[in-house]
């Protein structure tokens, strides 16, 4: 199976939030009690029970108002920071493109709940069940079980406007490029094409991405590759540094003739 993706065309979104409701109902996520939000986008942010939100942005430029509605969820990175950060292999990027959390999706419970994945994710996606005694990390799973059945994700199915388009990532990229090339209104960038090494979910928009909650000039290198650049030195440091220390110790020991190892741990003299 080709790696799947979703193209989110912000110009088409009407903020109907059917995708949010579909996500909650399909995934049996409990709705929660919220209060008035001036921006109309309660609950406003992703959490353990809300895997996707549509955030509203009002952009006012010389009296002109623009109002944009932007669905947010896990980006399903090509090389996920969450996966690389997890020292128990609790996240995995599947061949379908979904990045899933194994304890809940596959029932493979290795997670220790350290939340380093949350620190690692550049999009602030993984969320924690803070109120549970035995909490899990939660996030959009790209409706993995639906993908396996050849179905679209629940949110994509629910979207009335064609804002969300599901398909092979490569084909979506081509379509996204074609859309932004053929229409001068688009901002000339496909968010997710290169960001952090690329993501399965791709965005196109008619306003700069930084105005709709995305960081723009971010690394094009994947986050795992950063850590790996450092981690790969570990064995060298271990043995190299160990050898240096051993050598030094031997060398200085001969110099400090009087040095007596015993003395170091000799009992403290009695009164």
């Amino acid at each position: 199976m080709m790696s799947k993706g979703v193209l989110v065309d912000v110009t088409r979104c009407i903020g109907c939030r059917s995708c949010m409701v579909a996500c909650k109902t399909w995934n049996d996520l409990p709705p929660k009690k919220t209060t008035f939000s001036n921006t109309w986008d309660s609950p406003g942010k992703i959490d353990a029970d809300t895997w996707t939100v549509v955030n509203y942005y009002i952009i006012e430029e010389d009296g002109q108002v623009k109002w944009r509605f932007v669905k947010k969820q896990c980006m399903h990175c090509n090389e996920p920071a969450c996966e690389s950060a997890c020292f128990t292999h609790s996240f995995v990027k599947t061949k379908e493109g979904a990045v899933i959390y194994k304890p809940t999706v596959l029932n493979q419970d290795y997670c220790v709940g350290c939340r380093y994945c949350m620190i690692a994710c550049p999009f602030g996606v993984p969320a924690f069940q803070w109120e549970k005694a035995f909490p899990y990390v939660q996030k959009c799973k790209f409706c993995y079980e639906r993908l396996q059945e050849g179905m679209k994700p629940a949110c994509v199915t629910a979207c009335p406007t064609g804002t969300l388009k599901f398909g092979d990532r490569e084909e979506l990229l081509a379509e996204a490029r074609e859309r932004i090339d053929s229409n001068p209104n688009y901002y000339k960038k496909i968010y997710g094409e290169k960001e952090y090494g690329g993501t399965s979910w791709l965005y196109i928009s008619d306003v700069p991405f930084e105005k709709i909650g995305f960081k723009e000039d971010v690394s094009q290198k994947s986050i795992p590759s950063y850590t790996w650049d450092v981690l790969k030195w570990t064995p060298y440091i271990f043995f190299g540094w160990g050898a240096v220390l051993t050598a030094l110790r031997a060398y200085t020991k001969r110099r400090a003739e009087v040095h007596n190892e015993e003395e170091l741990y000799a009992p403290v003299e009695k009164d």
């Binding site: 020292f87 939340r115 005694a133 899990y136 950063y226 271990f238 170091l264």
Partner: protein
Amino acid sequence: MQNGKKWRFKMTPFRLLLIVLVLIAAAAAIYRFVYGLGAVTNLSDEWPWGLWIGFDLFCGIALAGGGFSTALIVHVLHKDKYLPIVRAALLTSLIGYVIALVSLFLDIGRWFNFWRPFFYWGYHSVLFEVFWCIALYTTVQVLEFGDIFFERVNCPSLKKLLGVFMTPLLIIGIVLPTLHQSSLGSLYIVAVDKLNPLWWSMIIPFFFVWSAFFLGPAMVTIEGTLAARAYNREPETDLYSSLTKVTMWMMIIYFIVKMGDLAYRGVFSTAFNGSYESNMFLIEMIVFVLLPIVMYATPSIQNKLSGVLTASILVVAGVVFNRMNVVFTGMAKSVGGSYFPSIWEWLITIGMWSALVLVYCFVVENFPILPKEEPVSHGKPFGTGFHA
């Protein structure tokens, strides 16, 4: 002080207070296990790591850096004049690590899975390295401490056996902390574009390990002085003065590398853009790096106990400040939301550090930790005022 079987622990009102604090923390910890982290902490999805990780773990481990730096100086470089303080440093380090582990255990949501990482080779994760190193190093420290322990708890054969392994243990005991002290920094390499570039760097592991190392002598200075006070002994000012020279030189290098790194990454100017982050960074650099360097470099200050102590306090506070900047200040803007530890988080932290003090007192009073009189003696006998 005898090799006798009687354990001693003297109650004082202060110690009683500490015990009460430990008990409160223990109760809060139980509550946390039953009702989840949300019930006792102010942690959130924006701030998955708070006081316990930011302070107890990051700073605890850093402050315990005294253990491996003195070990390096004494056992590898064989600067024997520092021998007397090596046990105290080892002890605080060990207790520091135990605290870090306890706080980790409190902090992880699925604590019952704590053993899993041993079996799932998440070698691509920095945390994997941190986890293994800390776990192993704590073991090594326990073994190292075993040497002392078996002095007190008479068992010469075991002590002998340990002695055989002492050299590799000592080496590993330096290599491991080198790795994980740096890895604690590497943990934040994933936070590229999240952690403010004043702190984020591909060589953040160097900064972490380097600062953990130069912190050692400063820490020893403080602990030594404190212990001397508490046990009414003469502080070893000379020793501190010469030991912290190491700190000074390392800090100079630290500062130069830091500036070079900022310049290399083209973010030097952001240090002066007046933002909250830049101001915190400037404080970190000026008050906690440059100032102590100057103090250490000024003989009139360096050779006085109060001088060297003040500078050392600045160094220690500076490392804490740095870790806090990395964990909190530098992340705040990108993650949004706000975090301030809840009363319970504070109480548990305070309880843990209280436990540290209590354990330290207990061990010092029962084990041969503090130096023999001779190498540092200024004439006062060791004994009389020992019981704090």
